[in-house]
């Protein structure tokens, strides 16, 4: 680096300014908001209907809604693991409970999409309070395992003793009613809007997705975002600077539970169904894979991870012959990515773009790889 000479400095300066500006812009809340809106508006089109692109992806509209919902789940989970460093193997408990609460409220009390989603979130928050009191006294693997145990406890509770309420494996049906009594969620648009978003259900879920992203962005930029990271890095130190670590962990846990509950409630609205399998432990495992595969502690990571996961489950699964091995292929790609890039797919992308910014380093790296170590030694000898 110190060998940089004047000639290249001039060129570097202009590009540096633009790179700096880009670095500033890309972390602003407005930019993140606009990107998430643009993503929602184009995602379904690109994945399922755009010429060429969709021929390659072979996607379909219904899957995009599922991916948006699970992305919210992964983002909520990531707030706890990626930001605060608490690994929960029982997040299905919030997902499934919110699903049930949404369905039960719609059946027994009142059925309006927005209201039942709010009820779902509140139920996850309430469960979060109880679970946090039990879990936050524990650390590391004990935390993870007891979270799993609570999740499984609820699973068995819902499937058997409470069968009268939950209908066991048959599940509950959530009838589709108009939003605020006026807007039909099934309504399909024509023209450009129809090409982009197809129907109101997609917009409904998409709005919550954008809301979740904006909310999480703000939390990350608040004192909490910093303090969560401090707890992840060094809990002892955080308490010795005077922070009530328990309360901050409690806050992180509730935020995560609430966002996960939002995903569970939306899934009940989307599928018009709530069943016991959403409490099952494998759901908790799936979301760990999604978050880690995409990249922990980031915003884009969990969304990318969710997309890849569902791409394998929903698309690769349907390939002739190959489809039977989708889970195996997913597992192999997961292992390969995380092996080379511990920060997941998003870490891989940021690594790559960072290298693109230093073209000279990249060129040297490529040269080094092509010529191998012996060539470098040879040139050293030549100088002498």
């Amino acid at each position: 680096m110190s060998t940089d000479n004047l000639q290249t400095d001039v060129e570097d300066e202009s590009s540096l300014i633009s790179v700096d500006a880009w670095d500033r812009i890309k972390h602003t809340e407005r930019f993140i908001f606009m990107v998430s809106v643009a993503f929602v508006l184009t995602f379904s089109y690109l994945f399922s209907r755009a010429p060429v692109v969709s021929d390659v992806t072979q996607g379909y509209h219904g899957l995009t809604i599922t991916i948006l919902i699970w992305s919210i789940f992964a983002l909520g989970f990531n707030l706890l693991l990626g930001q605060t460093g608490l690994l929960s193997f029982g997040h299905a408990m919030f997902f499934g409970t919110a699903s049930y609460a949404t369905a039960l409220f719609s059946i027994h009390v009142f059925n309006e999409p927005l209201l039942i989603v709010v009820v779902g979130v509140l139920s996850a928050l309430a469960l979060g309070v109880v679970a946090a009191v039990i879990l936050l006294r524990l650390h590391t693997v004990y935390f993870a395992i007891v979270a799993l145990a609570i999740g499984q406890f609820l699973y068995f509770l819902a499937s058997n003793p409470l069968e009268g309420i939950t209908q066991g494996i048959n599940g509950l049906e959530v009838e589709r009613t108009p939003l605020l009594g006026m807007v039909d969620l099934e309504h399909e648009y024509g023209g450009i809007l129809g090409e982009l978003v197809v129907n109101n259900l997609y917009l409904f879920v998409g709005a919550f997705f954008v809301g979740a992203v904006v909310f999480i962005t703000r939390v990350r930029k608040s004192p909490y975002g910093l303090i969560f990271k401090a707890i992840r890095e060094n809990e002892t130190r955080a308490s010795f600077v005077g922070l009530d670590v328990w309360r901050y962990k409690f806050a992180a846990f509730l935020l995560s539970a609430g966002i996960t509950g939002l995903a569970g409630a939306l899934l009940a609205v989307n599928t018009q169904f709530a069943g016991v399998e959403r409490l099952y432990w494998s759901i908790s495992g799936d979301v760990v894979v999604m978050a880690v595969l995409g990249g922990l502690g980031t915003l884009a990571g969990p969304v990318i991870g969710t997309f890849v996961w569902f791409y394998f489950k929903g698309i690769v699964n349907g390939y002739p012959m190959l489809g039977n091995y989708w889970l195996l292929m997913l597992a192999v790609s997961f292992t390969a990515v995380v092996w080379v890039y511990p920060d997941g797919i998003w870490g891989m992308i940021t690594d790559f773009t960072a290298e693109l910014r230093e073209p000279r380093n990249l060129a040297e790296k490529v040269k080094g790889r092509l010529t191998g170590g012996s060539a470098a030694e040879g040139s050293d000898g030549g100088e002498r």
């Binding site: 910093l226 600077v241 922070l243 901050y248 935020l255």
Partner: protein, 252 residues
């Protein structure tokens, strides 16, 4: 009245008595040092006072508050700060963020519901952070990842975090360990500055006898968990028990 006072402070680990009836008193504005051979119980004493360990018996009083049974964060909130012997920093955060975390704790107390307001809107926290970074001389490295700092800088960051909690009484556990002579000198200057400009009271644990005898107002000597001597540097230097137990035949 003393700012900090311990009475019959005893800590037993199973059959081992790490501290035995330690009685110390620290006056406001003093710089006191704690010396003693390895295993004398120096770290145990600090850990017991700052809430990391609970004493087997005895009392710790700080500015009229009984510290025994309090959580570390409560003690920190009362104005008792500490730096750790091994740099206990937040490795993946930037240098600035490391200091900022402590500044939030100092300005906002142990917990506050503000997860919807942006960090950069808290001017007093940003000012405190800038102040500390300038004082400690890490301003230029504020954007670096803490883990990538050289060892000496990590130790200084450790001190910076302790300072950012805005303590009235600061425990410093071997702040110069592993530092180069230049860095050691800077740290000593900093300590003197903290006493004169910031009006802090400092409780220093230090192995470097030159520093201890040079800057301390009073010195406590711990040996096998017992306080064997206390007094001014001159008194300690000539104290027979200290010479035997600590300075011994092998000298410094």
């Amino acid at each position: 009245m003393a700012l900090l006072e311990t009475n019959d402070l005893t800590k037993e680990f199973g059959g081992l008595t790490a501290l035995n009836g330690v009685e110390i008193a620290v006056q406001e504005g003093e710089l006191v040092s704690l010396i003693g051979p390895n295993g004398a119980g120096k770290s145990t004493l600090i850990n017991t006072i700052t809430g990391r360990l609970t004493p087997t018996r005895g009392t710790v009083t700080y500015a009229g508050n009984d510290l025994v049974g309090m959580e570390p964060f409560e003690i920190a909130q009362l104005g008792v700060g500490r730096t750790f012997q091994t740099a206990s920093i937040l490795p993946e955060l930037s240098v600035r963020e490391n200091v900022q975390v402590a500044a939030f704790a100092a300005e906002h107390g142990s917990f506050r519901i503000n997860f919807l307001s942006r960090r950069d809107s808290f001017d007093e926290v940003q000012e405190l952070t800038d102040d500390i970074l300038a004082t400690i001389g890490l301003g230029e490295k504020a954007g670096m990842e803490a883990a990538s700092l050289p060892y000496g800088d990590k130790r200084r960051l450790e001190v910076a975090i302790g300072l950012a909690t805005d303590p009235d009484l600061l425990f410093m556990d071997e702040p110069t360990a592993g530092m180069s002579p230049t860095e050691t000198e800077m740290t000593v200057d900093l300590i003197e500055n903290l006493l004169s400009e910031w009006g802090m009271t400092i409780f220093l644990v230090e192995h470097d006898m030159d520093i201890v005898f040079d800057i301390s107002d009073r010195i406590f000597t711990l040996h096998q968990g017992e306080l064997i001597a206390k007094g001014t540097p001159d008194e300690i230097r000539d104290h027979p028990a200290v010479r035997e137990a600590y300075l011994g035949g092998e000298g410094e």
